[in-house]
Amino acid sequence: MNWQGVKAIYAFEMERTRRTLMQSIIGPVISTSLYFVVFGAAIGSRIQQVDGISYGAFIVPGLVMLSLLTNSISNASFGIYFPKFTGTIYELLSAPISMFEALLGYVGAAATKSLILGAIILATAGFFVPLQIAHPFLMALFLLLTCISFSLFGFIIGIWANNFEKLQLIPLLIVTPLVFLGGSFYSASMLSPFWQTVTLFNPVLYLISGFRWSFYEISDVSVGVSLAMVLVFLTACLLIVSWIFRTGYHIKK
């Protein structure tokens, strides 16, 4: 096992975050704070409570997930796409490092950045709304699994993309709508029965629902199902990544 190699990639990626602090951390924190101001304080004060929780507090788990998902994907996808784009990937391919070790470095760094971001956003939310976390360990587990699985997903996108447009395509056209329609700002129970059924096909619903349960013990689906769905997504990403490594898809000619 080339631990030095894993450490080098991890440190390089974390250094990239430090260099781009504004874009990586401060930007998402500001935009999430704006959501709290607009939906939590301004509009939220005119909305009734949802399942006994103030609207401002209700949207916190969804907003954290929105930020985590988009940032996990963009961190990991950019991390592996940029060396492909600039050609510096030659060094990774010619180094005595397995693709699994490279994955540990890239995904580990992307997940770490997202975890830090999630923690900062939660702390920021505390300034705007009264925050309670009923099951902190479960919340941390959801955070961790989400960061890892969506960083893996981002890694897959970064490998698949062969231009910057493709790099943005899935996060913008698929992930963001799924997060917005996955119960970030509302409970599925507010929808008509037909749309409630449709929403069940949105995988992000399970993430947000389980995550919200860890805060307030309210959810659209059972927390066990939520956890299982996260694990299914994680397994699917791992299977795709292992196929990529086996075939050298978009990495090696």
């Binding site: 080339n2 030095q4 190699g5 450490k7 080098a8 990639i9 440190a11 390089f12 250094e15 990239r16 260099r19 600039t86 050609g87 510096t88 030659y90 060094e91 990774l92 391919l93 010619s94 180094a95 005595p96 490092i97 050298g248 090696k252 000619k253």
Partner: protein, 307 residues
């Protein structure tokens, strides 16, 4: 001499059907400098890329110090350093960080003292805290060499190391390459500059259309294929060759002031004595004479044209 890299029946066919390498066999000796010469698209970079692990081979095998590049990739890649043709480098890192990253990536523990010595050898120590984007093209090229040396490789591949580099820096690099060879590093370089191969290589390999045409000691190659010419500056200009000299390999210059005699250094007789006698008999006198030898470039062009 012991082989450090053995390439056996190596072929590479890309997905679009293009055959970049065709049954390549090559033994690279420990501690030598071997130059691979060839026109664009000859397959030089593909060959290097396969050995370094960047491109998968279609057929054949490559051993580095007896280790297979596929099954023992950790052992082989640890031994190899690669300086790519393009200036592919993370522009936002500092010079020191870039070399430290490469060392770590190749599994070596941090060694700031060694990185310092590499940077000093490359005259980059003063720039260690500069971001790479701030450096000139020549300096970036040296950073790439530094990155390739950061993990102390025993085999170094230099893919067009002096492309786009000014004459002074090119000569510096030749000095560096010789120094590395003297320290025991085996050097494999591809180049377009024939003078580069002529200047520093121990052996020359000529690659064209995915095949190795020949691999030969440089001096031997020059001796075997290098024809010599004897040029005579005449006292009286000639309008045409006398009948008695037509059978000889002689050419009269346009102004008739010089005669050029081409002969084979490998031949049993060069024919120079006979030429002198014939000239004397024909009453042709000369005031000066000199010889020239075909350059490696002439040899290269001839071989590639014949292929």
């Amino acid at each position: 001499m012991q082989s450090i890299v053995s390439v056996r029946h190596l072929s590479k066919t890309y997905d679009d059907g293009f055959k970049a390498l065709k049954d390549i066999n090559l033994e690279i000796r420990k501690g030598e400098i071997i130059a691979l010469l060839g026109p664009n698209g000859a397959g030089k970079t593909t060959l290097i890329s396969v050995i370094c692990g960047i491109v998968n081979p279609s057929e054949g095998e490559v051993l580095v110090d007896g280790n297979n590049i596929i099954t023992d990739f950790r052992a082989t890649r640890s031994m190899i350093g690669l300086v790519p043709q393009e200036l592919t480098i993370d522009s936002f890192s500092t010079v020191f960080a870039a070399l430290s990253f490469s060392r770590g990536l190749f599994g070596k523990t941090p060694d700031p003292a060694y990185i310092e010595s590499v940077l000093k050898d490359l005259s980059l120590w003063d720039k260690r805290n500069n971001r790479i984007i701030e450096l000139s093209g020549g300096m970036k090229r040296r950073v790439l060499i530094g990155k390739a040396l950061a993990h102390q490789p025993t085999v170094l591949f230099l893919d067009e190391p002096t492309a786009g580099v000014d004459v002074e820096l090119r000569k510096d690099m030749w000095g560096l390459v010789r120094k590395l060879r003297d320290s025991g590093v085996t050097i494999i370089l591809t180049t377009h500059y024939i003078e580069e191969a002529e200047e520093i290589a121990d052996r020359i390999g000529i690659v064209t259309k995915g095949e190795i045409l020949l691999v030969e000691e440089k001096d031997e190659l020059m001796r075997k294929l290098g024809k010599k010419q004897l040029i005579l500056d005449l006292v009286e200009p000639l309008t045409s060759l006398p009948e008695s000299l037509l059978a000889l390999s002689l050419e009269v210059s346009e102004d008739g002031a010089t005669l050029t005699y081409t002969y084979d250094t490998q031949g049993e007789h060069t024919g120079i004595t006979n030429l002198m006698e014939e000239l004397r008999d024909a009453g042709i006198r000369f005031k000066d004479m000199r010889t020239t030898q075909r350059s490696l470039e002439d040899i290269f062009v001839k071989l590639v044209e014949e292929a």
